[in-house]
């Protein structure tokens, strides 16, 4: 990897310097609008958290090109095994903002029925965006297994699984890549190297020079990409997806980017992220860069940019309102979905609890805040 250059297409001023991928203007604009929406939703979520209206969120400012660039290279029939920062991928494929907000408010309309923490989404439609869990890396071999099912049936579906620099140290990374290397799985392993795993800098995460090189030990080609460059991300993932569909096997893509906020709404990054580092990355803002490119190509003007933002604001505002008004999950959702059918013993537990409530009243709700 040491010798291989980082794939990049757009200069910071939006001028094309590399191999420009062919993308229809509509697609470019949809990507742009999704990036704007993602950024806005992210900021709004943080404000909601700070105001105590939702318990927790995970900032993803700065990584919009990674997410949207990757998503744009997938078909709706493909599968995404995301990490907790990836909701932009789902937005790109048309998951309604309202669904996102239900998941942030953990209300009764949330797909997880309010069982999960905020932003741990499950969507099946219009793209398979597989249920997110908190443990790091567990989803990686799952993507490989899901891909094997497609291989077995002779489908040309591609599977993208996304994780962080920290995630490469997880067990799932290892077992996922071991299996994918042997099975030649149609999987795109997207490592979002955003510089940090909470407070652990990427260079204390591994002794290697970057993360793309980790593919070699599994027979999985690796490539480093400028993660703040939409066109580069799109190109890299599209190439990997084409390989996957044609039986060429897996690819490990390292998107080099920077987490511009805290790890989560509970984190204070000023304690460990050098200010200078943030400043230098601020100049590489992926949305600004992409916008410059679109303007240069004459695909975007001030009015359209403003319209994209206004549309995002309106959508999010409406969704916040709807989500906040939605009812809490019904108490019986505690007991359902453990198994396909509630077993008699668990049904009894539930009945006993409802009986207790009828005698002793409701439980007192907590304050709803995740303290870190």
């Amino acid at each position: 990897m040491a010798g291989q250059a980082v794939l990049s297409v757009l200069r910071e001023d939006g001028v094309v310097q590399g191999q420009e991928p062919e993308i229809a203007p509509d697609t470019l604009l949809h990507a742009y609008r999704t990036m704007v929406l993602t950024r806005h939703l992210d900021e709004r979520a943080m404000r909601l958290q700070r105001a105590g209206r939702i318990g927790f969120t995970v900032p993803n400012k700065g990584v919009e090109a990674v997410q949207i660039g990757s998503a744009a290279a997938l078909r709706a029939s493909d599968w995404i095994f995301p990490s907790y920062r990836d909701f932009g991928m789902a937005l790109y494929h048309g998951v309604p903002v309202e669904q996102m907000l239900h998941g942030m408010f953990c209300n009764g309309l949330d797909n997880s029925r309010g069982r999960q923490m905020p932003v741990h989404y499950s969507f099946a439609d219009p793209i398979r965006f597989v249920s997110i869990s908190s443990p790091i890396g567990t989803h990686i071999p799952q993507a490989v297994g899901a891909a094997r099912a497609a291989q077995q049936r002779g489908e040309d579906t591609a599977f993208l699984t996304s994780f962080g620099d920290g995630g490469t140290s997880s067990l799932g990374f290892h077992s996922g890549l071991v299996f994918a290397g042997v099975w030649k799985s149609p999987v795109i392993f997207l490592c979002q190297n955003n510089g940090w795993a909470i407070s652990c800098p990427a260079d204390k995460q591994t002794g290697s020079d970057g993360f793309a090189v980790k593919g070699e030990g599994y027979g999985v080609p690796g490539v480093q990409v400028d993660g703040n460059d939409f066109l580069a991300m799109y190109s890299a993932v599209r190439t990997a997806v084409a390989r996957a569909r044609s039986g060429g096997g897996p690819t490990l893509i390292e998107a080099i980017t920077m987490r511009m906020g805290g790890h989560s709404s509970s984190d204070d990054p000023t304690k460990y992220v050098p200010a200078a580092m943030l400043e230098s990355w601020a100049k590489k803002d992926p949305i600004v860069r992409f916008e410059k490119y679109l303007r240069r190509r004459g695909l975007l003007d001030d009015a359209q940019a403003q319209a994209a933002l206004s549309a995002a604001e309106a959508q999010v505002a409406a969704a916040v309102e709807a989500a906040e008004k939605a009812p809490l999950p019904a108490t019986e959702t505690i007991f359902s979905d453990v198994y396909a059918e509630v077993p008699p013993s668990l049904r009894k537990q539930g009945r006993d609890y409802f009986d207790l409530m009828s005698r002793h009243g409701e439980a007192a709700a907590g304050d709803g805040a995740f303290p870190l």
């Binding site: 797909n111 443990p135 297994g145 891909a147 077995q152 290892h174 071991v178 359902s336 198994y339 013993s345």
Partner: protein, 325 residues
């Protein structure tokens, strides 16, 4: 009806479902050409091809992680863990993932899958080829835990497990893989999950057991009958989780004297749950202490494993305690 050993019944179950349902795939370490270290999967690769029965790299985390993915995407995976002692690298995948997928996604993503694994002692396997880890999994909501003790049940329960919409851990008592034989119907049938089986009738006391301990319980019961004329009921729990609690309570109430038997260490073992259930819901029927006969609270030894494993001496002693209290 053919007479099969327990492991032949497992093999027969796999073949039966694989013939009927293309979605069933079997994999794990050495399950292909070698047919598994105990030969549970013998002949599968030959009959169904390498796409449906295949070896994996040496990673239980990968095996279970991949199985989950396959289950999410329309297959019915049957993963083998070579020994239950080696399931722990996959513990995170089982406990954090397989068991919680349905719940966390509101039923949107589900993982119908089976993990088959030989468990238990009695083969001079020492610390790492003898363990009985059922309690770890029974304490984990979202996964079912099944243990057959006869060839008939092995086939019927395994087919039911493979057709079950939820993840099932299927623990095979390896000590009786070949020593237990019985009639097994050809073709498809199921033994429903979630029911117990009365192995021996009796109203003076009841022994709850499962796996290789069922026959130990039965031998002890026969001995007590012969020597003391007392009739001890033996109940095979066979689906450990979710347990048919009503059945357990019924047996306890009808006999009033209870012994709980398993190989695993006692402390926080499965037997504690049975005792606790009864102590909460049927204590007024108890005419004696509820006695557990179990492995010791130590790792599993090798040379002295015959001391560690509950045998009829120990069950008879416990029965004496509850019968004479």
């Amino acid at each position: 009806m053919p007479t099969l050993t327990l492991i032949q019944a497992v093999n027969d179950a796999l073949k039966t479902v694989m013939r009927q349902d293309q979605r069933v795939v079997v994999f794990g370490e050495d399950v292909g050409l070698k047919g598994g270290v105990f030969l549970a999967t013998e002949g599968l690769t030959k009959e169904f091809g390498e796409q449906r029965c295949f070896d994996t790299p040496l990673s239980e985390d990968g095996i279970i992680g991949a199985a989950i993915g396959m289950a999410l995407n329309g297959l019915l995976p049957v993963a083998e863990i070579q020994f239950q002692d080696f399931i722990f690298p996959a513990f995170d995948q089982i406990v954090s993932e397989a068991a919680k997928f349905r719940y966390r996604s509101g039923g949107m993503y589900t993982v119908p899958m089976v993990i088959r694994t030989p468990y238990g002692g009695g083969i001079k396997g020492g610390l790492y080829h003898s363990q009985s880890g059922e309690a770890y999994f029974c304490h984990t909501p979202g996964i079912k835990v099944v243990v057959p003790s006869t060839p008939y049940d092995a086939k019927g329960l395994l087919i039911a497990a493979i057709q079950d919409p939820d993840p099932v851990l299927f623990l095979e008592p390896k000590r009786i893989y070949r020593s237990v034989k019985g009639e097994v119907p050809e073709g498809h049938y199921t033994v429903p999950l979630g029911t117990t089986r009365t192995v021996r009738e009796g109203n003076d006391a009841v022994v709850f057991a499962y796996g290789a301990m069922v026959s130990v319980a039965t031998i002890a019961a026969e001995k007590v009958a012969a020597e003391q004329g007392k009739q001890v009921r033996v109940v095979d729990l066979r689906t450990l989780s979710p347990l048919d609690e009503d059945s357990v309570l019924e047996h306890a109430k009808q006999t009033g004297r209870v012994v709980v038997l398993h190989e695993a260490p006692r402390f926080c073992g499965y037997g504690g749950e049975i005792s606790a259930l009864i102590a909460e819901h049927a204590i007024e029927y108890m005419e004696a202490p509820i006695v557990r006969v179990t492995g010791f609270d130590t790792p599993f030894p090798n040379t002295l494993e015959h001391h560690y494993l509950p045998d009829e001496r120990r069950v008879c002693d416990a029965l004496e305690k509850v019968l004479t209290f």
